[in-house]
């Protein structure tokens, strides 16, 4: 009956790596067999017992390993991510996933992957997964110095990669969109993007008339409770009416989203 294999899983923290005070990578190993996620899918994660915080937090994996372990890149922004940041190796966590619809299989055209801030996570995963199948280019934008260790880390090695930072302290100065303006984009390119809402909105303008509309996909964020399409807490306005980010998304055609109402 289950289409997507979403499940609640116990998992154990194998490794935690701190890139800076507010950015870390956490590797967790599910204790049971579970579905392998595709790029764009995500997990709800919590590292605490009890109901405070009540809700698990959504994160998109940056990598899946052979033994089933998952890597997440997490930015500390509030209460939940702060508690997750205090997890230590050996600690137990809980996962719900994989949730959501992944990016569609690449069509064979060049894949241009744009990630801003923690929106890098699913883009990096997509890159590693598809780079041997289609020509792929990863363009990331980071806020600045806090992200330096991450950009220099092994995770980013061996990657056809361009880095932009707001203040030019890492890579080139600008955002992933700067790349589009400066280097252009091919009409047939597939463009996938994930990042701050401002970046995604601007992306529309940058791409207009440059690539085929139906080849641009974005992965969106929303506050989530259930993660499986039950509560309607995560809806966004689209041209087809409200759509659930957790179940109908998080990946949407750029053209579907009612950006003005977001």
């Amino acid at each position: 009956m289950t289409m997507n294999g979403t499940r609640d899983l116990g998992a154990i923290v194998l490794e935690k790596f701190q890139f800076s005070d507010e950015l870390f990578m956490i590797r967790v190993l599910p204790e049971e067999d579970s579905s392998i996620p595709l790029p764009g899918q995500f997990y709800l994660l919590k590292s605490w017992e009890g109901f405070d915080p009540l809700l698990s937090r959504p994160f998109a994996p940056i990598a899946v390993h052979e033994n089933g372990s998952l890597d997440f890149l997490v930015k500390v922004v509030g209460r939940g991510t702060k508690i997750i940041n205090s997890s230590i190796e050996g600690a137990k966590v809980k996962l719900r996933g994989p949730c959501g619809k992944p990016f569609p299989a690449p069509s064979g055209q060049r894949l241009l992957l744009l990630g801003g801030s923690v929106g890098i996570a699913p883009m990096l995963f997509a890159y590693k997964r598809y780079k041997d199948i289609v020509p792929a280019k990863l363009v990331i934008g980071v806020p600045g110095g806090e992200w330096e260790n991450f950009c220099k880390s092994e995770l980013m090695s061996d990657t056809n990669l361009e880095v932009f930072s707001d203040d030019g302290s890492i890579g080139r100065s600008g955002t992933p969109l700067t790349f589009l303006t400066e280097e252009g984009v091919g009409t047939d390119d597939e463009v996938w993007a994930c990042g701050p809402i401002g970046m995604l909105k601007a992306l529309g303008g940058s791409l207009i008339h440059k690539v085929r509309e139906d080849q641009v996909y974005v992965s969106l964020e929303a506050r989530m409770a259930c993660g499986i399409g039950g509560c309607l807490g995560c809806v966004i306005p689209t041209t087809l009416g409200n759509r659930r980010v957790c179940a109908d998304g998080p990946v949407f055609r750029m053209s579907e989203v009612s950006w003005d109402e977001l």
């Binding site: 289409m3 989530m224 109402e261």
Partner: protein, 307 residues
């Protein structure tokens, strides 16, 4: 006696395989989205709140976490009863347990119309009349606040509806007993006690209320002690079954609901934290019954009131 029998709960004409009912508005209406096994122990599933016309629901932020609780202001987003029957009910109806139609309405005629549609469709099961949604203007929980109009609408609904009729009451009233007594006198088969509690959250960064409609409904473990009190009061006031709802998240809370006087209970928010919660609750109740040599769930119902 099979362990399945142990957990059976009787509500009106229904015999549920377990007293754990999935509350309205929290669970996807597409069974293919249900993680496998999760509803095996579920006694019944309430549909999301269905209205006569399709509703887009509320704009802006819809859910906000509080300590052990969740504020929601979904605003009854739904495709309308007819579209639901046409597109969604078919896959749902063979899921292994009864589907309870949660019906919401603004003007009273809407409810009668909803019941007509269900009758024409050939549905003869149970409806849960929602007079307690805090997240819409007019209608919604204002029905529960005016006992005279509540009585009028329930009487008429009772005359129209042949199947079982549950009435889902609001906790945001002076006295829960009043509404329960009205529902009983109008021939309701059960009262659901209760819905979400009216609460407020402020987004301190933006210096304004989180929700566009300002107030929203609080659910989750935070409210269990409050729901238990209402269940105790309602169960003392009426003879029809009381279905406890609000904050059940483990076997202990479920047993507390039963002992306070509920014949069954609903589980909503707890599913967000754990898909296995209904299974864990049912196992916990079964173990409790075995340890305490209790053979029939009914023996527990209201036992704390008799103490």
């Amino acid at each position: 006696m099979s362990s399945k029998r142990l957990l059976q709960a009787k509500i009106g004409s229904l015999t549920l395989r377990s007293p754990a009912i999935i509350a309205s508005g929290v669970w996807p209406m597409e069974p293919e989205r249900w993680p496998s096994g999760v509803v095996d122990n579920v006694g019944a599933i309430c549909t999301k709140g269905l209205t006569l016309s399709p509703k887009e629901g509320n704009r802006g932020i819809r859910i906000w976490e509080t300590n052990c609780g969740l504020l929601n202001s979904i605003g009854l987003q739904n495709p309308g009863l007819e579209a639901f029957l046409k597109n969604e009910f078919d896959q749902l109806k063979d899921c292994g347990c009864p589907i309870i139609f949660n019906l919401a309405f603004h003007r009273e005629e809407e409810l009668y119309h909803l019941l007509d549609i269900l009758t024409s469709f050939g549905f003869t099961g149970t409806v849960e009349i929602n007079v307690s949604c805090p997240n819409v203007s007019g209608g919604g929980m204002t029905w529960a606040l005016n006992l005279a109009s509540l009585e009028k609408v329930l009487k008429r609904a009772r005359a129209l509806w042949r199947g079982d009729m549950w009435v889902k009451l609001s906790p945001n009233v002076p006295k829960i007993c009043d509404g329960a007594i009205v529902a009983e006198s109008c021939g309701a088969d059960a009262v659901v006690v209760a819905n979400t509690w009216l609460g407020l959250a402020i987004d301190v960064k933006r210096k304004k209320p989180v929700f566009e409609r300002i107030f929203a409904g609080l659910s989750g473990p935070a409210i269990l002690p409050l729901s238990l009190r209402l269940v105790w009061e309602a169960a003392s006031a009426v003879k029809i079954p009381v279905i406890g709802c609000g904050g059940v998240a483990d076997a202990e809370g479920a047993l507390a609901m039963l002992m306070a006087g509920a014949s069954a209970f609903q589980v909503g928010t707890a599913l967000f934290s754990d898909f296995e919660v209904v299974k864990k609750i049912c196992d916990g109740i079964e173990n409790y019954m075995a340890e305490n040599q209790i053979n029939d769930l009914e023996e527990i119902v209201g036992i704390a009131q008799k103490a």
